[in-house]
């Protein structure tokens, strides 16, 4: 609430509204009242498009532009996406004895990051691992967030028996220890190195935490006056859930999406490192495994064999954390409003721009 808002209230207003009062309206479907007095409101398609652009394109980009975390995070993630999509066409896949064994990094343009003990180009190997990793991240992240939000949302909004059943199932999954479960399932199920299936498998034990958190948030939100008002207006439940409740959960969901993505990378690389997941292509975890079994930790001149996949793993996680921390601001109406063109000039927030930055980092949540 700002002073400028208040000042708009014209002091002589109450009298005016009394004058304009028109006779009472008959009860019925249509309203014949001062409210019917149609003001000349005309909005063209162009206006509408401009508003949509303002809301969904201009404001988010401008928020991101102002936040260094978002900038770095976006750049990193985009870089990986570029590697995984276009990069694979630019860089030839590598093969055994392509180059000398254990060539050092940053020495030739041919093998910019060096080679492993079989002469495979580590740079090409990293690039060609990316797309598979991105597929796992995508599948795992979406699976966690979708299942967690849907199960938690339904349990919280419906309540009763539905809630009891869904919560019990959720509790079982919360209690499953992540890595061992995945290992056992990977052994039993015919997943054959399909990256999407692996992504889902890796998050099988991690959607429960999100579902539980969402449930308790929904329990609170459904008591909020604005959802009660929507109910009293006869808005159907699914619309209340998706238009009134879900937007309030978005920052939380976004943080959890990036957390799930990070978890997928960590678990995938870890399990490939152990050599317990089936694979068809090399990836960062497999390279780690090969390096470890190849004795790179005690051989001289083999350090880069470890470091290259490690940097690849750590790099994308940093990108995801930073992105997660900053993206939730995009869903904060206070921040949004400040960044929309229309109000950019008229904004007189009493507080400094960072005071609403209560988006405490939640990378450990759920």
């Amino acid at each position: 609430m700002t002073a400028s808002d208040r000042d708009r209230t014209d002091p002589g207003r109450a009298e005016k509204s009394h004058e304009s009062a028109v006779s009472a309206i008959p009860d019925g479907g249509t309203v014949n009242s001062p409210f019917e007095v149609v003001s000349e409101y005309e909005e063209t398609r162009r206006d509408r498009l401009r508003k949509l652009y303002d809301t969904y394109v201009y404001a988010p980009i401008s928020i991101i532009k102002r936040d260094w975390r978002a900038q770095i995070g976006f750049t990193i993630v985009l870089f990986y996406v570029f590697m995984g999509t276009i990069g694979v066409y630019l860089i030839e896949p590598t093969y055994v004895t392509e180059g000398p064994a254990l060539a050092q990094p940053f020495e030739t343009w041919e093998y910019p990051l060096g080679t492993d003990d079989m002469g495979r180009d580590l740079f090409a190997s990293v690039v060609h691992s990316t797309s598979e990793m991105l597929k796992m991240i995508l599948a795992g992240g979406l699976f966690t967030v979708t299942l967690g939000t849907v199960v938690g949302g339904i349990a919280g909004y419906k309540g009763g028996v539905v809630d009891t059943v869904l919560s019990s199932i959720t509790d079982v999954f919360i209690n499953l220890p992540g890595l061992p479960t995945v290992m056992v399932l990977a052994l039993m199920l015919p997943i054959h190195g399909n990256p999407y299936l692996i992504g889902v498998l890796l998050t099988i034990a991690s959607w429960g935490g999100l579902a539980r958190a969402i449930r308790s948030q929904v329990l609170t939100l459904r008591q909020e006056p604005f959802t009660e008002a929507a109910r009293s207006m006869g808005v159907p439940s699914h619309q209340i859930v998706f238009r009134d409740i879900v937007p309030h959960l978005m920052p939380f969901v976004i943080i959890n999406l990036t957390n799930a993505a990070r978890r997928v990378i960590f678990s995938a690389a870890g399990l490939y490192f152990l050599g317990v997941l089936p694979f068809s292509n090399h990836n960062w975890g497999v390279t780690l495994d090969l390096a470890y079994s190849g004795g790179a930790h005690y051989r001289t001149g083999a350090l880069h064999w470890f470091l290259v996949p490690m940097v690849a793993i750590v790099g994308i996680s940093i990108g995801l954390i930073l992105l997660g921390q900053s993206l939730d601001r995009v869903f904060n109406p206070r921040v949004r409003a400040r960044h929309e063109k229309k109000f950019a000039e008229s904004q007189l927030e009493e507080v400094d721009p960072d005071s609403d930055d209560d988006s405490e980092p939640m990378i450990g949540a759920a």
């Binding site: 509790d171 061992p180 039993m188 690389a269 793993i313």
Partner: protein, 334 residues
């Protein structure tokens, strides 16, 4: 205001989870495509045994009779498991329970130190960040925390192995106890154990990054609260304020995070112990996987799950003791 009913309900829920996990493991052994029982039968037959002999062996190993109707087999399996009979390891030819019981203390030893130290660091760093919010220290520590959060523990483990062990030779590259020293309560042995556990524990400290960010947020919230302002006006000493007001209220939410991370760390111990060749539960499980030692594998899985269930049960049950506001209405504390 915790009701007895709420505690009972929570206990029932934990039992339900244990039951579900046992059922799940039964299903995996028995029903899934590529199930354990089938795979073992095939293996024994390939080793030249008669089908009857193979069946007999499988029954012995899995404590599961393949000929019995599935529901009877299921009931037996559940009962056996609950009585602690998890079958016999194929590879070690010993009861699974004995193997697990021998390995568990080593893993618990490493994990409890890891958790204790990483939360200690996390809470301290988070409190510092919150106290100097927006300052250089805050920015520095936040960046450190983000970096820590981005490093998988096994990456740190490998790096520590390379440098602290192979390159600089400060710590042993593997194993869990000193060689040539008699096990027991003597200084050399205990020092040796600590020495061997150092690198695994250090690797797990990446968890402190996440913890410190959580602590930072909590502390900032508490620092802005009304009761803190009143406490300052009442002239309480800085010590009382920081311990009884800020720390207590900010650490509370960390409590559940801590117990949840026990579950994750148990899972992580598989990779960790593999890297350091540390003979604990994780390495045992890893070997069971590689050798397709199904009884040991499933037994370890059930054991770890029960450990997590118990950890979370303790978390819920004791939370009301730590936080007087929690209780019956709030079963969502984690």
């Amino acid at each position: 205001m915790v009701t007895i009913g709420w505690r009972l309900r929570r206990l029932a829920q934990a039992l339900f989870t244990v039951w579900a996990v046992i059922t799940l493991s039964f299903a995996m052994i028995r029903l899934m495509p590529g199930n354990a029982m089938g795979a073992m039968m095939v293996r024994f037959e390939q080793q030249g045994m008669s089908p009857a002999r193979a069946r007999e062996l499988v029954e012995l190993r899995l404590s599961l009779d393949p000929d019995k109707p599935i529901h009877t087999a299921y009931v037996e399996y559940v009962l056996n498991t609950l009585q602690g009979d998890l079958g016999t390891s194929v590879f070690h030819n010993e009861p699974v329970v004995d193997l697990l019981a021998a390995a568990l203390p080593w893993t618990l030893f490493v994990l409890s130190w890891s958790i204790f130290i990483s939360f200690f660091i996390g809470i301290a760093a988070g409190a510092l960040m919150a106290y100097w919010e927006g300052g250089k220290l805050d920015v520095g520590l936040t960046s450190w925390a983000v970096l820590m959060g981005s490093i998988p523990f096994y990456v740190l483990a490998i790096l520590l192995l390379i440098f602290a062990s192979y390159r600089w030779g400060i710590f042993p590259s593997g194993g869990r106890q000193p060689t040539g020293v008699e096990a027991g309560f003597n200084i050399t042995y205990i020092r040796g154990i600590l020495y061997h556990a150092t690198l695994p524990v250090l690797s797990m400290l990446v968890a402190s990054g996440v913890a410190s960010l959580g602590m930072r947020g909590n502390s900032i919230r508490v620092l802005g609260s009304d009761y803190l302002r009143v406490a300052r006006l009442r002239g309480l000493s800085d010590y009382t304020i920081s311990t009884q007001y800020v720390a207590r209220n900010a650490v509370l939410p960390m409590y559940t995070t801590l117990l949840i991370s026990i579950g994750e760390m148990f899972g992580g111990s598989i990779v960790l112990e593999y890297v350091f060749n540390y003979r604990g539960l994780g390495l045992l499980l890893y070997e069971a996987f590689n050798q397709r030692d199904y009884p040991l594998m499933m037994g370890g899985f059930v054991l770890i799950t029960i450990a997590v269930v118990i950890a979370l049960l303790i978390a819920d049950m004791t939370y009301s003791w730590v936080d007087p506001r929690a209780g019956g209405q709030n079963s969502d504390s984690y």
